[in-house]
């Protein structure tokens, strides 16, 4: 389709115009590719494979806590596992968890937010539904999300799915609020009235005239959010030792937790530095990409940016001014920070 092709070209041009978002874009693409490769063909990337290597647990203690070397670029841990392999093996899981939680929160919370924002006429069925949705989100938003998540994990008991559920439960209300706010800002604009005057059915107005105009800030927020989910999930896995059983499945937060509990960090710095760096780089990549997307998704800034890039460049190779001059329009919400 020509339109999507144009959008992709526009995406590339705009991202190229802003060095930071370009870095974010490249990182996200690389991370996703690596995650796919690790899942589909681990032997290509992972030097010390996982599944057939159950014997690794009984590896001689002499292999434990090796500092980074040629054979083990990130060193080895106390269980004699190669950290480089472990971090790579954990990538699909951590990335998948982040995308899944943010995605379910986006779709679920988004639908609730659309309903709560659009059908809010008091005294109607929609008005009541809207009130119930909003008061429920208020209850969830009253607690700091990390604390609530920890409490839920404590109640549900250890396990990967329990932690995911806990994060999800604390996560969806933000999307309800975000989407509802955007709907309220848009639903009384003249073009929505004009669509109504043209006889467009209400549901079609909601999707085509309201949702379509609020999609951009939501997509941007989602992209930024993937990193935040990752950090929150890792934080819970870090704070509650053993909530995700170490070392299988491999997970960055539980790696940190394991080392933190059992060994002096100053002595084996690589065992903390590399998993932390993995979390940091992944979260940062999505953050940078989100900022870049904000510029791309607004047709006005997109055209301006594409033109500014298409214009003959002056001798310097510095970033184009247009890429960074767009004001921050995405609502941000306070979230507790990671480890």
């Amino acid at each position: 389709m020509g339109a999507s092709g144009l959008a992709l070209r526009g995406l590339y041009r705009v991202l190229r115009a802003n060095v930071l978002s370009f870095v974010g874009f490249v990182l996200v693409v690389a991370i996703v590719l690596v995650a796919l490769l690790v899942t589909l063909a681990p032997h290509l990337l992972v030097p010390y494979g996982s599944t057939q290597e159950t014997g690794a647990y009984s590896a001689p203690p002499s292999l434990a806590h090796w500092p980074p070397s040629y054979a083990h670029p990130f060193g080895t841990d106390g269980a004699s596992l190669d950290l480089y392999s472990e971090i790579l093996l954990a990538l699909p899981l951590d990335l998948g968890i982040a995308l899944l939680i943010a995605g379910v929160a986006l779709v679920g919370g988004g639908i609730l937010g659309l309903v709560a924002g659009f059908y809010d006429r008091p005294g109607t069925i929609g008005g009541w539904t809207s009130a119930v949705i909003l008061r429920t989100t208020d209850v969830f938003l009253a607690f700091p999300s990390l604390l609530l998540g920890l409490a839920i994990v404590a109640a549900l008991g250890p396990g990967l799915w329990q932690v995911m559920l806990a994060v999800l439960v604390t996560w969806w209300p933000y999307y309800v609020r975000l989407v509802r706010g955007e709907v309220l800002a848009v639903k009384h604009l003249p073009y929505v009235t004009a669509a109504r005057a043209a006889g467009v059915p209400e549901r079609r107005i909601l999707v085509r005239h309201v949702l379509r105009n609020i999609l951009d800030p939501i997509v941007v927020y989602f992209t930024l959010d993937v990193g935040t989910v990752l950090v929150t999930f890792s934080t819970i896995a870090f704070v509650i030792p053993g909530v995700v059983s170490y070392p299988r499945p491999p997970e960055w937060g539980s790696m940190l937790s394991f080392f933190n509990l059992n060994y002096p960090i100053s002595q084996y710095w690589w065992e903390v530095a590399f998993p932390s760096a993995a979390i940091f780089v992944t979260a940062l990549a999505f953050s940078l990409l989100g900022d870049g997307l904000r510029d791309v998704l607004d047709p006005r800034t997109r055209r301006a940016l594409v033109e500014s890039v298409a214009a003959p460049r002056s001798g310097t190779e510095g970033p184009e001014e247009g890429g960074t001059s767009v004001p921050n329009t995405t609502p941000t919400m306070d979230r507790s920070e990671g480890p």
Binding site: P122, P190, A194, R196, A198, P201, N213, P299, R300, R303
Partner: protein, 382 residues
Amino acid sequence: MSEPILSVEHLSVDYRAPSGTVRAVDDVSLTIPSGRVVGIVGETGCGKSTLAQAIPRLLPEPPARIAGGKIVFRGTDLVGLPARRLPLVRGTGIGMIFQEPLNSLNPAVRVYDQIAEAVLIRRWREAGVLPSFRGGAEPFDYSHRPLPEPSAVLSRPITPGASAMESARRRLPGRRDVREEVLEFLRLVRIQDPETILDRYPHELSGGMRQRIMIAMALSERPSLLIADEPTSALDVTIQAQVLTLMKELIDEVQASILFISHDFGVIAEIADDLGVMYAGRLVELGPVAEVFRSPRHPYTKHLLRAIPERYKSDGPLAAIPGAVPNLAHPPPGCRFHPRCTMAQAVCRTDPAPAFRPVAAPASGGAHSSACHFAEEVATLP
């Protein structure tokens, strides 16, 4: 004499605010006969836009509320219609052109898709894919069209000699020939090379262009009644003249019934057949344009007409009406114009307000009505 397309009977619209209820439209009655253009003039805040939006029931309710009266559109009272059925009347029944072409087009949708949506809604309704007023229990039988269909003339100037097969094919739902129809409507509103703007977003077009697209959208649903709510007010004077010329030509071509809201007597004089004058929520005078201009029957109309700047007049200040528009939250008793009226007498200050009554049946056809106790004496006003 066929039944009028629209008859508004004693319509009142309230706005509820925390500070109290404001009656923005008070006891307004008017009819729009088939194929006639009715213009409404009035000052800012006199309720003319509220009236325009109340007719297709577009006002957000609450805060607005229809306090009384009837809006009879092709035999159906829209006031009594449940909210879920209202969309069926809009678009193909009552089309609308808005005041703000800058904001009335969806910024995320390309020009082609905006107009195609309108075209498709009409086609789907005609083909029965989308519900419309159809069937015995329905208030309006769309299929058998009891009234002469003035908007059927719409496509004539641009599709000369379209065969019966062609028009039958057009009625089929589908996207196949939507593009051609969209282009036709863009040409109808005098856009040269319409192909070049199909892929544009609204913000890439000028204000005049956007208003033309709005007009094309409204016309492409072939409405029985078109409501134009100050379509030229937001445009600058040159573009205003262009759009006005366009609308005048279109009115001749389309032969639609139109309710044209404006604050500009010149615009109304150019376009309308009948002229209504609103003041502080009330319709104070209604009659054929020439008749109202020649012999106004309400002092307010007379004063307004006198306040129109004459082109070559250079001596002295412009004529103005003394006083200010009343606050609609606390309107004066009796005739609302009496505090500013030079003819006011004791009877004007007492309730009830002067009735809206026919004052003369001029030869040109159509009654001339006024809401003034002294309608007959207005002519003597200096």
